[in-house]
């Protein structure tokens, strides 16, 4: 067998062209491509096969390596991001270095994007030729092993973050749960009932919240945000910034005597938790079941912050505990974790953006989230559904798809609105006996028990009108419309325009990415779709992984989803993080850079350009040296070095030159 590692012996190359069923073969003349490859210099054998990635396909490669003493392999198939690990494994099992492989992407980059067979085949030939020229220069490389810290950071304490944190903590690993609001619970904590079972949301959520708060393996930081993330899979350094709540958390016992004692006898400021439907004091507990049970002070509202002349009755009430600290400042803490789960959730569509529906103009136009609070037993009206003037509505219109499936705002279906609209329709009808009209485009109720719930609503006498609402207005043209809001919509099933006078309009607002999703994604070095939803590594096969190893996503930050889906995804993300931690180490790609000392002039240009300060100047030799542990393998130093004395493994200058020239060498 020729020495695969010796650059002086001519390489023996095998080329393998995959049909991928008909995915490739339908657009590329695969036999012609294989035949062409067989004629290229140093190619000993070229074959085609239906599915190269299958066991027999891989065995074909392994057998050839053994029988023909192959030292380099080119596989022309799908994207290397798909099957490079598969074929590297085949090489290793046949006894040659994993990095003697070059993949040619003739599926995603050729057969799936072109239609002319002749042109596609010509392009594939160019790509194969380049790969054959390049692979000759490949050097044996070894992956680096790094240890994985078992701690996990979960960002966002909604139902997804809570479930992920508990799952990991129950396995015995330590979790840091960071939530930017003063309490965990997220959107789910706002709901009264959950569809389609009508479980009480608080009854199923608050035990989990309490469990998080008291779990020995969970460090819960609320009112805190991730400020910076450094490092790589298994070894992330995360800076967490604690916002001042002006309460010493360890000393506060949540008795709320301070709230009681506040100089303001009544609440005056919009209560965030109730979406402004009630008022709170400057010192407050976000909501009765908040976790942690710690109050906080709103410095914008508190007299002490404004004038320093407050009687500070709260401090008096707190007494010996001394939990109130007006001088508290933001602080930063640094933690080391092995992996990160991002579960930062969603925001709802700002209903005023769709001006035709009169949100913010007519007081009795509500968003669905506001109605969630109104129907909630612990909400501002203790669950009584009343209008702003205190009367009970007799006619209620629920408008679906507000900020969803709309080319003027958001094009996507928010997935949960049909079901929550049905739930609200049920609750409103049950509690007030009002006539409820649902205006919908399509009823989308795919899910266990969902369609059955829709059937139940039909039986309950809730009205359904199929058609997008044109406008909500208060101009009566008939005596029955006096003093009412009139919903004007085309009834597409009946085939005419209808005017429905109602007392209350509920806008079923869609789900949107958080407004700072783009900043958050940069923080964690993950991608997001054009809309701002975080991007999974693979929509089907890696739905909670991202393109950054060790960073996972869960819940609605990835796209609109309901509670069961969020919980399932959180469980999956937790399992991924635990699998990583249990493996104890991870193998990193060996694409690091190294300095060819003989050629290095010691100009230090590379030192300034490395984003990871992985290059140091060695005073004794007056040469640069790359610290391979810190190097992440971007290769920018190799492109920068004026004397060409830095090389990046697997992306060496010469390898890329060969690829360029191979592409352009006319056959």
């Amino acid at each position: 067998m020729p020495d695969a590692h010796n650059p002086d012996t001519p390489p023996r190359i095998g080329v393998y062209v995959c049909h991928c069923g008909t995915n490739i073969a339908a657009t590329i003349d695969v036999p012609a491509l294989a035949e062409y490859a067989a004629g290229l210099p140093d190619v000993v054998v070229a074959r085609e096969y239906k599915y190269m990635c299958s066991d027999p396909g891989q065995e074909l490669i392994r057998q050839d390596i053994r029988e023909h003493n192959l030292t380099r392999i080119v596989v022309a198939s799908c994207s290397p991001l798909m099957h490079e690990p598969t074929f590297r494994g085949a090489l290793v099992r046949a006894g040659i270095n994993a990095f003697f492989l070059q993949m040619v992407n003739i599926r995603e980059h050729v057969s799936w994007v072109h239609t002319n067979k002749e042109e596609a085949t010509a392009k594939a030939k160019d790509l194969v030729r380049a790969a054959v020229r390049r692979v000759r220069l490949h050097k044996p490389l070894e992956k680096r092993r790094v240890e994985i810290k078992p701690e996990v950071l979960v960002v966002g304490g909604g139902i997804a973050g809570i479930h992920a944190a508990l799952t990991i903590a129950n396995s015995g690993k330590h979790v840091y749960l960071v939530e930017r609001q003063p309490t965990i619970g997220g959107h789910m904590a706002l709901f009264d009932k959950t569809f389609p079972t009508l479980d009480c949301a608080a009854c199923i959520l608050t035990p989990k919240m309490t469990a998080v708060g008291s779990h020995p393996n969970i460090t819960l930081w609320t009112y805190a945000e991730v400020a910076a993330v450094e490092g790589y899979v298994g070894n992330y350094k995360v800076k967490v910034r604690h916002k001042p709540r002006y309460i010493v958390e360890d000393l506060c016992i949540g008795c709320q005597e301070c709230v009681e004692a506040c100089v303001y006898k009544e609440g005056r400021w919009a209560d965030e938790f109730n979406l402004g439907l009630s008022k709170r004091k400057p010192i407050y507990l976000p909501f009765p079941q908040a976790v942690p049970q710690k109050v906080l002070i709103d410095p914008e509202a508190c007299i002490e912050f404004k004038s320093h002349k407050c009687k500070k009755t709260c401090v008096e009430a707190c007494g010996e505990r001394k939990a109130i600290d007006f001088k508290q400042e933001a602080s930063t803490e640094e933690i080391d974790v092995g992996s990160i789960i991002v579960s930062t959730g969603f925001k709802t569509f700002a209903a005023h953006r769709n001006a035709c529906y009169g949100y913010g103009v007519y007081p009795n136009v509500y968003t669905s989230l506001e109605v969630e609070r109104l129907v909630n037993a612990s909400g501002p009206t203790s669950g009584e559904i009343v209008l702003r003037d205190g009367t009970t509505p007799k006619m209620v219109g629920i408008i679906h798809c507000v900020g969803s499936r709309d080319h003027n705002t958001n094009r996507w279906c928010s997935k949960v609105c049909c079901m929550y609209s049905l739930k609200l329709a049920h609750l409103i009808r049950e509690r007030t006996g009002a006539e409820v009209y649902n205006f919908y485009i399509d009823m989308r109720t795919p899910g266990k028990g969902y369609e059955e719930f829709y059937d139940r609503l039909l039986d309950e006498g809730v009205h359904f009108i199929r058609g997008r609402v044109a406008e909500v207005a208060d101009w009566p043209i008939h005596p029955s419309e006096e003093g009412k809001l009139v919903i004007r919509a085309e009834d597409t099933l009946a085939g005419f325009v209808r005017r429905i006078p109602v007392d209350m309009v509920v806008l079923s607002v869609g789900l949107e990415p958080q407004s700072d999703a783009r900043d958050v994604r940069r923080l964690f070095n993950i991608s997001c779709s054009e809309e701002g939803w975080f991007l999974e590594r693979h929509p089907k096969l890696a739905p909670v992984s991202t393109f950054t190893d060790g960073v996972f996503i869960a819940g609605a930050c990835q796209g609109p989803k309901d509670i069961p889906d969020s919980v399932a995804q959180a469980g999956a993300a937790a399992a991924e993080a635990m699998a990583l931690a249990d493996a104890k180490y991870v193998e990193l790609e060996p694409y690091t850079a190294h300095v060819i000392e003989d050629a290095c002039s010691g100009c230090k240009t590379c030192l300034t350009i490395c984003p990871y300060t992985a290059i140091a100047f060695v005073e004794e030799t007056k040469k640069a040296r790359v610290n391979e542990v810190l190097c992440k393998g971007c290769g920018t130093c190799a492109a920068t070095c004026p004397s060409g004395s830095i090389e990046q493994n697997l992306f060496e200058d010469q390898e890329i030159f060969e690829e360029v020239e191979g592409l352009l060498a006319y056959a």
Binding site: W112, V113, H114, S527, L535, Y591, P611, A638, A639, V660
Partner: protein
């Protein structure tokens, strides 16, 4: 690939032969290469003129690679990287941008038209942008015709620039 095709204009007249441009693409692994993969999985169709070389980061793209491509017959070079601020390696795309600006001036001196060298930010989610950029570039280069590189040897890697000293420069 055919070196020339016949193009038929709207009024049915057959125009003179148009050479199909050959374009070398350098795409970063994390954004533009992924976007091209996404274009594939979405079955978006675009012109077959670009051959892509994958690099880990657009910051890895040495201006010499671009010169080498032109010297060996490329009619255009397309670099694809992550959007500003989105680099998987923090700032590689900024390094790429700086080099590209400088390189553009060098290419100009070689008589290589501006349209032949293009730097685009295409994120992993922008599969359709791959089509838009490639189709647009191919269209422009078709109009421009093949690259007529008179001073080729000076560009060729290992080639001797001294042979044509008078011609190099502004």
């Amino acid at each position: 690939m055919p070196n020339a095709i016949e193009s038929v204009s709207g009024n049915g007249q057959v125009s003179t032969e148009v050479a199909e441009p050959r374009i070398v693409g350098f795409f970063c692994t994390w954004c533009t290469y992924l976007a091209a993969d996404l274009a594939g999985t979405s079955r978006i169709k675009y012109a077959p003129n670009v051959r892509v070389i994958r690099v880990m980061c657009s910051g890895r793209i040495d201006p010499q690679f671009v010169l080498d491509a032109f010297a060996h017959g490329a009619d255009g070079v397309l670099i694809g990287g992550c959007h500003p601020g989105d680099c998987h390696y923090q700032q590689g795309n900024y390094n790429c941008l700086r080099r590209a600006r400088l390189l553009k001036r060098v290419l100009e001196q070689f008589g290589i038209e501006e349209e032949r060298f293009r730097l685009e930010w295409i994120s992993a989610a922008e599969g359709d942008r791959v089509r838009v950029v490639i189709d647009d570039m191919v269209e422009k280069l078709r109009k421009l015709g093949p690259l007529q590189l008179k001073r080729g040897p000076a560009l060729v890697r290992g080639g001797s620039g001294e042979q044509v000293p008078q011609e190099v420069g502004v």
